[in-house]
Point group: C2
Chain length 212, copies 2
DNA sequence: CGCGTGCTTGATCCCAATCAAGACATGTGG
DNA sequence: CCACATGTCTTGATTGGGATCAAGCACGCG
């Protein structure tokens, strides 16, 4: 929607920071290509990954009122990012009456997503968490026209672990078990989902991993 | 901010539903008095409490674009709720140019709050969670002009447990330990915080409960 | 080639869940 | 006013899922 109006692209390389928690938020960021991880940092320094973001996603929306970024964003691979100054955005909103509502909608969707995430962290066991992770990722790749069955992970095991509130070793073990149970094929970062339906059942707690 | 413009109040009694997840969201809700619990429900039926809300809080903002409620709200006690139709809200936005930005700001704050909650659920142990819970509640009472040291819990132990991603029994045990360690005084639902600073230290992981 | 980072695997431990029972408060109908 | 039911909370005993500790492995890169 914004593409036509703005075209300030920026190429970033793996592990480059896009924006930092605590700094003034002057832009929102649209991912054009690549992948991004967002995370919050607690006072004591430990961080929680909030999400992995793909092309088409918009970041930094929650600091819209010229406020402060409540999370940080970092690239997981070479990426092109489109920066849209919030000032520009506000001006555009005047020109395009529908835009402001769209922003409200996107923010609302972000909140819904957070709710789902809260539910997952609080109520799901490790098996479910990983199944949910793979299922979501697969779905999101699909929406972008990529294969839902085969994809490359851009993030490390450790980052997945952090995202799901688990230990690194647990992720390793789980991936191994998913492989043993013929739910997926794995080769380092490349994942092939074999038993999609089963995966969904595990994600939703309808069956357990060792029942498979 | 909206008070002047609208005055459709409604009195609800304990355990009354205000809005339901999955239904069309036609209103936002401002709490005038009482207390409200919001929660999401998963497909399999289990629910996750998202927050406990006090007078002055606004609920239902995330369905602004005439969409669907992504959580449910239920009163914890007799409450007066002010309903503001989203249509009215959109009209008001045209009259009052600052309002739309305010809405964006409130939504942004909600997202920041969710991030904090994600971090808590994923990274904190049970002691920290309860300390965070008490500290936050205390702070929020303070902002509303009530005592930060003494207050009544409107929710059950079980609801606290659900909110923090713990078992009911764990909450009972923790409250007992907090009492033993002279951090709080308890009498059923009435809480008095004795060692505020210690509580904060525990919340932030700077010290453990049995060091106290 | 050698080093470092990321990943895997094994052994052990511990925090919080679960199971179980009882205590206390509140409400309800006789 | 009491007997009883019900929901809430507490406390104890036991279990178990995932964390932690500790090596070793595999790949990529200078």
């Amino acid at each position: 929607m914004l593409d036509a109006s703005i075209s300030k692209y920026k190429t970033l390389y793996k592990a480059d920071a896009i924006f930092h928690q605590g700094t003034e938020s002057s832009c929102i960021y649209a991912i054009r290509s690549g992948a991004v991880r967002t995370y919050t940092t607690a006072k004591n320094g430990d961080q929680q990954t909030l999400g992995f973001h793909l092309p088409g996603d918009i970041l930094g929306l929650n600091g819209l009122d010229n406020k402060i970024h409540s999370c940080s964003g970092v690239t997981l691979a070479t990426s092109t990012i489109c920066e849209i100054p919030i000032k520009t955005l506000h001006m555009l909103c005047i020109k395009m009456p529908g835009l402001q509502r769209q922003l409200l909608r996107v923010l609302g969707e972000e909140i819904s997503k957070d709710y789902t995430m809260l539910l997952m962290l609080a109520r799901c066991n490790a098996d479910q968490k990983l199944a949910i992770f793979f299922t979501n990722l697969s779905e999101r790749f699909g929406k972008r026209g990529f294969s839902t069955r085969e994809f490359e992970l851009t993030m490390t095991r450790s980052e997945i672990a952090n995202y799901l509130g688990l230990a690194d070793e647990t992720i390793s073990r789980l991936i191994a078990r998913f492989k043993d149970k013929k739910l997926i094929q794995v080769q380092r970062k490349s994942i092939k989902i074999i038993a999609k339906q089963r995966m969904i059942e595990i994600a939703e707690g309808e069956c357990t991993l060792d029942e498979v």
